[in-house]
Symmetry: C2
Subunit: 102 residues, 2 copies
């Protein structure tokens, strides 16, 4: 593997590597949602949610389509949730206590 390849993969993983974005993907794994609905996941500004979603769309993990004035978001790559499973595996190895959290 060369540096360019590694960078391309890192860019995608970076898109996953934020608590809020993980919450967003988790929510989207249970069905498509508009920005407003996703905003209810946490008490942050609507613009913050919008930016996190942009991040996910930029790398292609999430897609969107408009329905009237709403922008519906869709998890395009459910395989990405496997990465979460890997995370859980790691946590189990590292600490039983932390694993309980997951």
């Amino acid at each position: 593997m060369n540096y360019e390849q590694a960078k391309a993969r890192a860019d995608i993983l970076k898109a996953l590597a934020h608590p809020m974005r993980i919450l967003l993907l988790d929510a989207l794994s249970r069905g498509d949602r508009c920005v407003n609905e996703l905003n209810e996941l946490a008490e942050v500004d609507q613009s913050t949610i919008s930016r996190h979603l942009s991040h996910l769309k930029r790398v292609g993990i999430v897609t969107e389509h408009k329905e009237g004035t709403k922008v519906i978001h869709h998890l395009a790559c459910p395989c990405m949730l496997k990465a979460f499973d890997c995370s859980v595996e790691v946590m189990k190895k590292v600490s039983r206590r932390q694993a309980a959290l997951l």
Copy 2:
């Protein structure tokens, strides 16, 4: 999923989300290596490699043991490489040209 859970998972994913660390994990997937050997992967300072490895060890993806004056690093969680496969899947969806890179 609550915020604490999401944060725990994000911490692990963050440990993956850097080109250099992906190169390191890729190298380790082909066998255990000491810091010096890993340093040959790229023209960066030895301290930089050391810190990237610390990052990977902190979250438990990589373990170490000493052999004389060398510190041998070992990929503790090969399942993590699945996350790379997911990255490739994403890239394929996003762009055929970029996917060729991977």
